[in-house]
Amino acid sequence: MKALKKDNHSHISADEEQSAHLALEHSLAKKCRFVNISLAASFFAFIFVFAALFWLLPDRESSENENRALQTFPEFSLQTLSSGKFTEEFAKYMADQFPARDFFVGVKAASECAMLKGQNNGVITARGGQLISRFDSIDLETLDTNIDCVSKFAKAASSDGISVTCAFAGRTMDVMTSSLPRTYGSEASDSQLEALDEICLSHGVEYVDLVSPLRAHYENGEYVYYRTDHHWTTLGAMYAYNEIAEASFLPAVSENDFRKETASDSFYGTTWSSAGTVWTSPDTIEFFRYDGDDMLTTSVYGGESFSGLYKREALDTKDKYSAFIGGNAARVDITSKGGEKREKILVVKDSFAHSVAPFIAKNYDVVLIDLRYYTGSLINLCRDEGINKVIILYNMDTLCSEAGFRRFRTGLGAS
């Protein structure tokens, strides 16, 4: 250590410090023998055990936790090797199939938390353990194109005598501004919602604002959005339904009209999966039941039909929200079992509509269309099936992304 005292700032001192440290380590070799051996043993044990487990454990096809397909062993050929495709996919394969992946994801979240970051993977841990995905900016161009498509469809439909109601929902970030850290606050949300207003105005699209009413309910202490997921709760969906109902002349509902059934009290949503905060307590999913709802039939195109509005098998999986009308599909029809004639409403939507659908289905037959998968023409669908009411229901996140909005224009003719 003596060499360190004369710190002469030339590059030689780097070497001096290094060799002093090495000399120190060598001089203490006997004293440190046991600790050195223990360190080396545990280092190699960690590496070898996980290397072995990685190869021994069977590969998983998909991750329930993250709700996506996992990379499996990549195809090997001279061509994929020389193009770099093999090595690139292999890296993904290792990260996706790594043993105890969920444990490590939790360790990372915990250490970010220990560094007082207050966020992990783009998810802010807000007051009360509320998890909120942040969107600092949105893709204005896509939003503009999407609203333009909506407006073209609405114009064509109303000239056909079809009434169209647009309703746009907020993200947790828009509704829960009061729970966000003060520095983050509502600035991003405000400016993005303002941009939505302006774009809608310029395209002549009027919409039902679902942000302010739900924000008011939230600030009132009501459980209107999940803590661990990006969706609204069934209660939030009911409030949203009432807002839509008012604009499009559907009957309003109130909490007393329903028998609340706790469908699951162990729901961990998608926001929780990105945040990795394993210590967050789960959400509760409720179904708002009413007389005759189990007499309805939900038919999923390209899938199976079931009676009632809820696919209860989904409650045993991670993605419990997909219990509502069976989750994402190109087209879902809700009809009454007896075949009694009811008016039919078309809902063009993202998944936020899934928990709203049961309220609409109380009085109407419903056709739900997801334009990400549905390729047909909406206007022809209305004409063919005698639909006079259309509800367009999206949340801000979908509105700003490529989600098949151009298909609103399918069949409108070249205008």
């Binding site: 250590m1 590059h11 120190l24 051996i37 080396a40 207050g118």
Partner: protein, 462 residues
């Protein structure tokens, strides 16, 4: 393949180390060569042949230089020059062809198509290493390596293959022939490696993510913070990588020289360059500056020599004008310091000298960050107020990264390591705590690698 990846740690390293330590001592260089080629080929399957070609050329040239140096100085010199020309031609072709083509095409009637070849990983590093060998043999600073396997192992040595340090042949000559493997070196190497891994995964990557988000915020505060975090990213990225290389070397009985020595503690830019990427500075001094005459041929010649060195240092960092300007930026500062400023800085309070240095270094990273001039200038105008002051997202990210910032600052000083060794020397309990901490840090680093897809390596394409 970078060291801070799952496939390195849990596949390549696990297998290599197992083979390395099971074969007898005599075969270990051969194992090193084989696994190093595999390591290289993993990322660049085709360029493995280029690598083998380089090894053969430099092996033969070194051999011939040695053979003739006693009898015909002229012939020996000729073979050394041949090696220099071939190595630099390969480096020039792969790294600078497109840059030259593009710039010449700006002239009227010249139209050279760029080839768009990908850069062989580590070519800037291993070319300089191989050159140091032939030149050292010619200068009789190192003895010839007649065993092609050992020589191949030196050029391809996977710990420093793709990002240095640039190990001079003479520094490892002895170790290639005979080196000791013992538990002290092994556990010291493990600690150094884990420390480097943590620098890369726990400090550089998060700092880099912040540079991305602050840098693109388009606000005054954000753009200053952006360069600040970029300064930390580049330091911890690169020094972390060097530490991992040094650590891996130690595990296998090699002692590589330090490549970084707390550069952000410097009290002048001259000093900064004695502490930053030491192996590159040393290389340029010994193989360019001194052969050109150094400072022994008068003032004018000294400045010219410095100009050449800094022009080349800039160019070495990348085939783009901003790197050349970056190099010349240092040339100007170093000349001014040499002329009179250095003496004044030595007399000035340490704080003044440090702040002066850090400000200049801060702006050098601005030059370094943008290979597109227009983007760089618009970034600079954002920094100096041509935009809103701050935004909620910037404020939030700043507050959320304060602990990280403190860790980055403290880790840039020599104190943690000195305190570590002092405690380690004195208390047995401290040694156990540190050993346990090392393993915990390894687990946490693994967690970050499993979780994150954000793992770029800045010096990878050099």
């Amino acid at each position: 393949m970078v060291f801070s990846s799952l496939e390195f740690l849990f596949l390549f390293f696990a297998v290599s180390v197992l083979i390395y330590f099971t074969v007898p001592l005599k075969l270990r260089n051969a194992v090193l060569l084989a696994v190093s080629l595999l390591f290289y080929g993993w990322g660049e399957p085709v360029y493995v042949f280029l690598m083998i070609g380089t090894i053969l050329i430099d092996y033969v040239c070194g051999y011939l230089v040695d053979k003739f140096k006693g009898t015909s100085r002229k012939k020996a010199r000729g073979f050394m020059i041949a090696a220099i020309v071939i190595n630099l031609a390969l480096l020039g072709f792969f790294k600078y062809y497109d840059f030259i083509a593009e710039n010449l095409s700006a002239l009227p009637f010249v139209n050279i198509k760029p080839l768009g070849l990908s850069l062989p990983i580590g070519i800037s590093f291993y070319t300089f290493q191989a050159l140091s060998y032939v030149i050292d043999v010619y200068r009789e600073d190192a003895s010839v390596q007649k065993n092609p396997v050992s020589f191949g192992a030196y050029v391809t040595l996977f710990p420093q293959l793709i990002a240095g340090p640039i190990v001079r042949y003479r520094d490892v000559d002895e170790q290639l022939r005979r080196r000791e493997h013992n538990i002290v070196m092994l556990s010291s190497g493990i600690r150094t490696f884990i420390c480097g891994l943590a620098k890369k995964v726990l400090l550089a990557n998060p700092a880099g993510a912040l540079w991305d988000s602050f840098g693109s915020s388009g606000t005054v505060l954000g753009s200053w913070l952006g360069i600040l975090f970029f300064s930390f990213q580049i330091y911890f990225d690169f020094s972390g990588y060097s530490d991992m290389a040094i650590g891996l070397g130690k595990m296998m009985g090699f002692t590589f020289r330090e490549n970084f020595y707390y550069p952000y503690m410097s009290k002048s830019v001259t000093e900064f360059w004695r502490r930053w990427h030491i192996s590159l500075g040393t290389w340029f001094r010994e193989y360019v500056y001194i052969p050109l005459g150094g400072n022994r041929k008068g003032k004018a010649r000294t400045y010219f020599n410095l100009f050449v060195v800094w022009f080349l240092t800039g160019l070495w960092h990348g085939a783009s004008w901003n790197f050349i300007i970056w190099g010349l930026y240092f040339f100007v500062i170093l000349v001014i310091e040499k002329a009179f400023l250095l003496k004044k800085l030595e007399k000035a309070p340490a704080l003044v000298a440090r702040v002066y240095t850090l400000i200049l270094i801060f702006f050098c990273w601005w030059l370094f960050a943008f290979d597109n001039m227009a983007e760089g200038i618009s970034y600079l105008s954002t920094m100096f107020g041509a935009s809103q002051l701050t935004s909620a997202a910037v404020n939030f990210d700043f507050i959320s990264s304060i602990v990280l910032l403190c860790i980055l600052i403290v880790s840039s000083t020599p104190y943690p390591r000195r305190i570590y060794y002092r405690l380690w020397e004195k208390y047995a309990a401290a040694r156990w705590v540190f050993a346990a901490l090392s393993v915990i840090v390894l687990v946490v680093c693994t967690a970050y690698l499993v979780d994150s897809s954000y793992n770029p390596f800045l010096y990878f394409r050099f």
